[in-house]
Symmetry: C2
């Protein structure tokens, strides 16, 4: 059962108002990883709660307690639980999204102010969070607005779960999901889950995602001097923490992307021919990767190897160093305490619990080889397991039908390189199928400068979400 | 001829007022390496010019033109030339100092606001520039004030040369010094030079410095992606600039401080027993180094090796990375363009001209071995030759006598690890002896957090500067 034509034309007719609402959402600087902006994340929660209430959703804000970030104890932003419809004859879908965003400063290289949505002539809506994940959340608001304005009942019952800490490890959410998934909990009766948070592979083919990599994030600190030192006065007299840290970071990954921590790559069984055929079939090429990356820098010219590197193999990225000289210009400092940041994307059967001890042991052993008098400290900042789902389930089938109906295309079935740890929590706690139904494109630049969502993805994507609900209602369990 | 007792008591009696003047100078945030604070450097030039004029010095501000810093064209701050006394029967000394300072933010780890001078109970005057180099410059003002207030003629003629770009490569100064050193130039008739800018080895023994290391500073940029990328989406699909840069930076220096660029360490002849005896004699121990560094992190337990590491061997320090994630917290970014900063301190016979080609060739060759598709760019940010002077010259003898008179101690004769490139320019352009006469202590933390100058060093140091002028006047050429 396709969505009513009236719904599709309604979405088109309201496009400008929907984009204005997206601009309002982007303007709230809800950066969960920045202690100074924690209040903005809370403000974003209240803004979204107000929108949901106005559209007929019963909501409650859930206090997730406190956490320590960068040595400061902070209140976690509230999660939002919502419910609309309670018809026992209808299926119930649980929808997840997040209203926090990655950090962004114009000085990082943005062409425009990151928190002012800019509508470009080519239809791109540029702003932090446009694609990750405010656009998708607002897609659901658009669907609700049709039903309210036209006094139509929704084809399914919906539960919402929106959080404000996804970009910073989803602190507190696992406990909430586990609690509300139990008998008598808020999520009782949920038949399937739809996660609204990720992207197409390319800029032309819609995608349904059935796998995600996990993550384990490390902060490795080397310290020694009591304070920063003058390199003229102390150069070649003391063990410099930067020298040690750089040597250590240089032993984690090689130029071909191989992880040098013994046992980590080896945990993952090699792909057989049948699995390789899946990657061969995807509508994705080396040039798509390089176009999305903005440079001819692919690790390999073999498409299958490249896609497996993203989807079914682990990866290790060096993100940066805290405490060293990072500004423009020349400063002749020996930094006293420097912290290298890196993370490993995990795939089954890897878990943070299995991988972290290998990383910690390796770092300690390599540090010992340096024969330095400086001190090493290793912290795991956050992590999450990888996830793989059954993509032949009726939940996926409904999404396939909706995709064909809106985009007149067969969706690519993908595993994704990114991490949305709560996906696995939903799957394990509820015991139901979880689907990732992306709105944005592979070149949206989530977590990057000049993040954008194409207008067509926002509008057609809203139609897709609504159509998915109608297909869900119609499909046999 | 020692300084008049009246002079010494005058300095003591005015100590509080002198410290207040230092507080006024520290409050001007004259950070030459920060384009946004360039106006503060200019303001500092005008403040100092006003002080000099009020003390009877004829001055002129010299426009040094423009330069490009971090891609922006900026006016250089003016240099200040000054002259007081014109008696052909007296010697003429040229005094150099700088009124710009290193960057400082409280968030770097300062206990107090860096640009507010704090007088601690233990007598430390804490603030950026207190020791490097506003305190020493103000020491000269203190000497002038005695002579003005008491209507005493100075024992020598003085020329001043103060600059505002020392912490950023002394841009424009070499040309000025070379021009004014020629016949008919401002420095005509100068008999010797006194540089007021460096520190004692320890916290108890005054020092005269007869050698300085040179410097060559590099910025090595690796780029590839068109923008920052999401490590989930792109990890293990593209060549990551951070991976390449970290590998490259890891091949520059080892844990024992050996420079891995072939030919650089090898340029310096080994010390013979006679030279080693000089270092053995200095009042400086391993525990002095570790106390000044604030950690038990010395590279060696051999005092002579340690002092030679600082004074007569080159060193390579890794300062940091621009463009990578450098803030607290966890960000899963693959930075698109990262620039490693490092510098090499040079000793005779090394020069930037001789060393730079070796570094550039080595970096290119090591980068080629990485077999990456990313791009490498190497820039030399600034540099200067090392310098060694004749420490048996009458200029040094006068300073020795002044030290004995004020401190009742024999000064240590040292070569210093830091770089003051203009020292060599003065020596070569004027063809006269150049002396470094430090005011501060080895633990002052120049270029570091919580920079301080001890009250006793400021006050006794002002006496030392004045006494040096009287000894200069009396000594035979």
């Amino acid at each position: 059962m396709a969505a009513p034509t009236e719904f599709l034309t309604y979405i088109d007719s309201k496009a400008d108002a929907f984009i204005q609402r997206l601009a309002d959402a982007v303007a709230i600087q809800s950066v969960s990883g920045d202690a100074k902006r924690r209040g903005e994340v809370v403000r974003m929660a209240h803004w979204l709660d107000g929108q949901l209430k106005a559209l007929g959703v019963e909501t409650k804000l859930v206090d997730l307690g406190k956490h320590v970030m960068d040595g400061v104890e902070l209140d976690l932003p509230p999660a939002i639980l919502g419910s609309i419809g309670n018809d026992p004859k209808k299926k119930t879908v649980l929808i997840y999204g997040h209203f926090d965003v990655q950090p962004a400063n114009k000085s990082d290289g943005w062409d425009t102010e990151p928190f002012e949505l800019v509508i470009k002539e080519n239809g791109q809506l540029v702003g932090r969070g446009s694609s990750d994940d405010k656009g998708p959340i607002l897609g659901w608001l658009n669907v609700l607005e049709y039903h309210r304005d036209n006094q139509k009942p929704l084809p399914v019952n919906i539960k919402f779960c929106f959080e404000g800490m996804e970009e910073s490890g989803s602190e507190g959410l696992d406990e909430l999901v586990e609690k509300e998934s139990k008998a008598g909990g808020y999520f009782e009766g949920v038949d399937c889950v739809c996660i609204s948070d990720n992207y197409w592979l390319n800029d032309r083919t819609p995608v349904l995602t059935y796998g995600l990599r996990g993550l384990t994030y490390f902060k490795v600190t080397v310290s020694g001097p009591g304070r920063d030192l003058h390199s003229g006065v102390f150069g070649r007299t003391v063990h410099e923490p930067m020298t040690d840290l750089i040597h250590l970071m240089g032993r984690l990954v090689d130029q071909q992307g191989n992880i040098l921590v013994p046992g980590v790559d080896e945990m993952v069984p090699p792909a057989d021919d049948e699995e390789k055929a899946i990657y061969e079939a995807l509508d994705y090429s080396i040039s798509d990767v390089e176009s999305a990356a903005g440079g001819q820098i692919s690790l390999t010219s073999n498409k299958v190897d490249l896609l497996m590197g993203r989807m079914r193999n682990p990866s290790l990225s060096l993100h940066g160093i805290e405490g060293a000289f990072s500004e423009p210009g020349a400063k002749t400092v020996i930094p006293a305490k420097v912290s290298g940041k890196f993370s490993i994307r995990l795939v089954p059967p890897q878990t943070p619990e299995a991988v972290n001890p290998l990383v910690i042991e390796y770092l300690k052993s390599e540090f010992a080889k340096l024969n330095t008098k400086n001190k090493l400290e290793i912290e795991g900042l956050h992590g999450g397991k990888p996830w793989v789902a059954d993509h032949k389930h009726w939940n996926f089938e409904a999404a396939k039908r909706a995709t064909r109906s809106v985009y007149k295309q067969e969706p690519d079935l993908t595993r994704e390189g990114g991490s949305i740890p709560v996906t696995l929590t939903f799957a394990e706690s509820l015991g139901v199928n979880v689907l990732l139904l992306p709105m944005g494109r592979g070149d949206d630049g989530a977590h990057s400068t000049n993040e954008k969502l194409d207008r067509s993805n926002f509008i057609e994507g809203s139609k897709l979400l609504g159509s998915y609900l109608y297909e869900l209602a119609a499909i046999s369990k």
